[in-house]
Symmetry: C2
Subunit: 340 residues, 2 copies
């Protein structure tokens, strides 16, 4: 039977449609024996609920909120653009997406915002904010109120379980791998720049980077991570310092998603000196650098995929389904001049 309906189910199980409905929607007051009979029929006929009809009946709408940081780097711009686009892609599934930007460095702020959301108006939230006890609590309470919550790109625990984002360990290792293989001299030191080493992302990337370089390119040497704290002067000072003290510089790995500041400074300081440079995330800036040959590779995650994956996962949670995991894995993309 092509797509059996609840009617078919009822006939097969020898019960009424009302009882099938009770079983399907987990209402109580049904004998276990009857429940089993219906479940058997479901299995036998391969019944799959027609979610579209169900949504129609319930006038179900999905409203998803993306809670993002305020800081306006280009990667974030791309994310926001793709959220808008996802809104129109998923419109036919009755999905609406909204962006809300918060000061992600004040956990209280984040938690307060999450506290304002309730199931009546919001089906789910994708949260991009550093981990903290307050935020963890707020997420817990969100779920209690029936709002789906999803760690988005950054920084929540057990990312691999249910969050959306690439494997940062693998990303760091890939950066090291490329620097090691692109570097014809096989020796030299590598400069690593991050916005801050507080974040889980940076830590994991650095771990992957170190482990790969140590294991496969032992004659190269990694310098301590430089933290810019998003401050141009500070960045300039520490980078200049490092460049001066390490004449054997062979590679540069910019770990933060905003590569503009560090790369601009490095370009200024070491105009023609050539060493291998790797940065994260595809943005207008990194693309231009790659094309110009001032950057050797970009390690990227597809922002469109990130957003759509988040939407699908949130929707699956609301519908009470398991998302197909193979579709949701975010690849560590290696972008070169030739496959931009």
């Amino acid at each position: 039977m092509l797509r059996p309906t609840t009617k078919d189910l009822a006939k097969e199980a020898g019960v009424s449609r009302a009882t099938v409905d009770r079983v399907l929607n987990g209402r109580e007051g049904v004998k276990q024996k009857t429940v089993d009979r219906v479940n058997e029929a479901i299995k036998k006929l391969g019944f799959v609920r027609n979610i579209q009809a169900a949504n129609l009946a319930k006038s179900q709408k999905y409203r998803f909120v993306f809670a993002l940081p305020k800081s306006g780097d280009q990667f974030l711009d791309a994310i926001i653009h793709h959220i808008d686009e996802a809104g129109s892609i998923f419109a036919e599934d009755l999905v609406w997406c909204e962006v809300h930007q918060i000061d992600e460095n004040d956990p209280h702020n984040v938690s307060a915002f999450l506290g304002t959301l309730d199931a009546a108006t919001t089906s789910g939230v994708a949260i991009m904010a550093p981990e903290s006890p307050q935020v963890r609590d707020a997420i817990y309470r969100l779920k209690e109120r029936g709002v789906a919550a999803l760690p988005f790109i950054s920084d929540q625990t057990s990312m691999d379980d249910h969050g959306v984002g690439m494997n940062n360990n693998s990303a760091g290792a890939t950066a090291a791998n490329l620097i090691g293989r692109f570097n014809r001299s096989e020796t030299g030191s590598v400069m690593v720049i991050a916005e801050s080493m507080q974040s889980r992302d940076s830590l994991e990337r650095r771990l992957g980077f170190d482990s790969e370089l140590r294991q496969h390119f032992p004659s190269m040497r990694v310098l301590p991570s430089l933290e810019t704290y998003g401050n141009y002067e500070r960045a300039h000072d520490i980078i200049a310092n490092t460049v001066q003290n390490n004449p054997d510089l062979a590679g540069l790995y910019v770990m933060s998603s905003e590569a503009r500041t560090p790369l601009t400074i490095v370009n200024e300081l070491c105009g023609t000196a050539s060493f291998i440079k790797i940065a994260h995330e595809r943005t207008p800036f990194t693309e231009a650098e790659l094309r110009a040959g001032r950057l050797d590779s970009i390690i990227a995650q597809d922002p469109g995929h990130l957003v759509r994956s988040a939407v699908r996962k949130l929707k699956a949670t609301v519908d009470g389904r398991q998302p197909k995991s193979s579709q949701e894995r975010i690849r560590v993309e290696v972008i070169l001049r030739t496959n931009l």
Copy 2:
């Protein structure tokens, strides 16, 4: 208004729901002035047809057929696996997917199969077969009968317009780029192996490869393409010959999607001799080779993405929509040991 309905449209345009229906579904017998009024209302309210309700009303189902080659390489296995998986992912959208394998080298065969499909039972076909006049004709007639048709992965013209598959020129260039950069000696010759140079895929990859190498690594030298015709003995002979005559071998590019035969032969012939090796498509075999360090990189297109993209495009065609192109672009993926 959150999702206006045809009722709202009717009220806004000052006509009845019947007339709205006539306009929406392009039935005739409506004055131009009325059509305009309705269209204005659509624009003003931002009306979007609820496809789910429409499908429910029409009992619309989508049955998509994937016409694939018979030859059983591992890449094809992966594709087929993902078609099955897509079947369950898209089940909620009332989509069914079926695989039909044909002898792709006999155009008459392909065209005969396509001739058996009609709109009553089949909504669309994704076709993976070499281009030929017969097939082109058959596709034309399919469309006339109201069956959507889509070039899939391989070999039809104007791929960029509407087909599904990666940019082969870019893929070839990326292979050359990697070989050039990984090769520390900066000189040497490169062996290129294909199943056949008849196919558009191989030609485009080779063009991209040559152009990149010539432009950016001029001190390296590309050898003429070796064609295996899928024959082990022949492959063994020509590869052995090439290896013997080119002691300066620095790189190998396997262009075909089935890399097992050529790579196995090369492994046999030049056990420890190390040169850069690049192959296409992620399969159990190429993954294992990459892990073992016998392969330096895989240039891949995500088979799951290919399949889902094909389904979405076919569905969009049936629904009379434009697919969001940004989601459908197939990336040229660079896979290394570290980002498997």
